[in-house]
């Protein structure tokens, strides 16, 4: 069974806050849910499916969150694949809807890492509970930044990718963020600004890294019949794919991501090619993340990502592949250290024609949202969603 055309995205919301020192985590989830319901023109009691990631909903899976929100459900799922969870949940919601398990599914994300002062990028990992690999990794002080940095270092060695090429990813994001009043970083930056910013973990500079922000968002996925009854532009899900990638028993290759599997699965289901995509939301925890995923999704050949993103090729209006027109995680928002939900939100804005006029892609009828969660440097969950405007 395919999910192609079996579910629509009918509601989206990105919380405007970037520092929620006056709100609880649960309140943020609820505000996001309320925002997406208002966007869709639905009410809470219309929801019969709920999806979230266990990692940002304290309690047993989704149970405490469902209790707090007061939901009555037929279907729920709290699978956590880090930042890509919400892309995966769009697929899982579409699957549940296609098989009749629910009709209107709510997905929420929220978090307060900025208020809580989490040094997300540079703090070595510690483990409250020992995973199978913990003893073989944590003594070496893997953080977030140095794990992605090792991917970048190898990519540079193997393919000749340069810091200047990586910098173009940030430059493009900053060109978009200048038009987003909610973006954390709205100043347009240059390649020189990026490569001259302080080194965090060789070869990644401060401006190669995404922001740390509080906030969240929500998505509502519904049966096509429900979508047609609402007064919003129609955005249908036409393909999705998911895949984990790990260390393969020590046969480690850090030059590619799980997008080599989730991407082709999504394209095959949708019946479209990378060249058909008018707009792409690509997870941008770091600049290297974008380069690797663009290659793995097939937008260019493996190893050519650095050249592909150069010279403004990701900037809406001038480049061949307009990406992250909200400013992405690099400039706009990375709520709860999880950027997958906002990737879907901006893709839906583009398909509806509701992106900022200065970054709106003309006649944007086919968009992709993609993410990886966990770490490209160790193990991660990859998820790809392709959407079409009807």
């Amino acid at each position: 069974m395919s999910i192609k055309g079996k579910a629509n995205i009918v509601g989206i919301f990105e919380h405007p806050t970037r520092k929620a020192d006056d709100k609880s985590l649960f309140q943020l989830h609820a505000e996001c849910a309320a925002g997406a319901l208002a966007d869709a023109g639905l009410t809470k009691n219309d929801i019969d499916g709920y999806f979230c990631a266990a990692g940002d909903t304290p309690g047993l899976g989704a149970l405490s969150m469902v209790d707090y929100l007061g939901l009555k459900l037929r279907h729920w799922d709290s699978t956590d694949t880090g930042g890509s969870s919400y892309l995966l949940q769009v697929e899982h919601a579409a699957e549940a809807i296609a098989s009749g398990k629910c009709s209107i599914a709510l997905i929420t994300l929220a978090g307060r890492p900025r208020t809580e002062g989490v040094a997300t990028g540079t703090a070595p990992r510690t483990a409250a509970v020992q995973s199978a690999e913990t003893a073989f990794e944590n003594p070496y002080a893997p953080a977030t930044a140095n794990m992605y940095a090792m991917c970048a270092m190898r990519h540079m060695y193997q393919y000749g990718t340069t810091s200047e090429q990586l910098a173009w990813v940030k430059v493009a994001a900053s060109h978009h963020a200048q038009y987003n009043p909610h973006a954390m970083l709205r100043d347009v930056v240059t390649v020189e600004d990026v490569v001259n910013s302080p080194m965090i973990a060789d070869p990644l500079h401060r401006l190669d890294c995404c922001v740390i922000s509080d906030g969240g968002g929500a998505i509502i996925v519904a049966r096509p019949e429900v979508a047609k009854s609402l007064k919003r532009p129609l955005v249908k899900i036409i393909g999705a794919g998911e895949a984990p990638k790990h260390q393969m028993g020590g046969a480690i290759d850090l030059t590619y991501s799980g997008a080599v599997w989730s991407g082709p699965a999504a394209f095959a289901e949708a019946g479209v090619k990378p060249a058909d995509i008018k707009y792409a939301s690509i997870y941008d925890s770091f600049t290297i993340t974008v380069v690797m995923q663009i290659e793995d999704l097939g937008f260019c050949e493996k190893g050519q990502g650095g050249r592909f993103v150069s010279d403004g090729n990701l900037i809406s209006g001038t480049g061949k592949l307009p990406f992250n027109t909200d400013g992405g995680g690099l400039c706009n928002n990375h709520p709860s250290n999880r950027g997958g939900l906002t990737k879907v939100v901006e893709a839906v804005r583009q398909l509806r024609g509701e992106a900022h006029p200065r970054v709106q892609v003309p006649n944007c009828d086919l968009a992709l949202a993609h993410g990886t969660g966990g770490s490209l440097g160790t193990r991660h969950g990859s998820a790809t969603v392709i959407m079409e405007r009807e």
């Binding site: 020992q130 003893a135 003594p139 070496y140 002080a141 940095a149 090792m150 190898r154 028993g249 020590g250």
Partner: protein
């Protein structure tokens, strides 16, 4: 910049990994060997991650390898080099590159095994340039 000693988070052995860490205490780095498919793996586990046989055992690694990739973390009080080293036997493992000039580490560089004490646990296998 010369590398400095830092506090190393202690590995926590479990029933499955106790033999690995007991060997580490004797200065030996062990890797997983499957007697069904013949492949080597890391980190070692009882059931082979390739063929899923439980006919596995620990095999001592020679301790020589090459740097597959690395990164020097600059934003911590004590900068350090994290790396993946490909062992002469084949598997690649996460580690640190120690006792060296952090600015002269290179991919492809030959390295050899050293053990560093952890904070209250068994010693941890690391590597230093040959």
């Amino acid at each position: 910049m010369q590398s400095q000693e830092r506090t190393i988070q202690a590995p926590v052995p479990n029933l499955e990994t106790k033999a690995f860490w007991d060997a580490a205490a004797q200065g030996k780095l062990m890797i997983g060997k499957c007697n069904a498919c013949g492949k080597l793996h890391y980190y070692p586990r009882v059931r082979c991650p390739f063929c899923f046989s439980d006919r596995t055992e620990l095999q001592q690694a020679s301790g020589s390898g090459t740097i597959y990739t690395y990164s020097v973390m600059r934003r911590t009080p004590i900068p350090y080099a994290i790396a993946y080293v490909t062992l002469a036997e084949g598997p690649t493992m996460m580690t640190n590159i120690v006792d060296c000039d952090l600015d002269r580490i290179r991919i492809g560089q030959a390295v050899r095994l050293v053990f560093k004490p952890s904070d209250g646990g068994p010693p941890v296998p690391m590597f230093t340039p040959v």
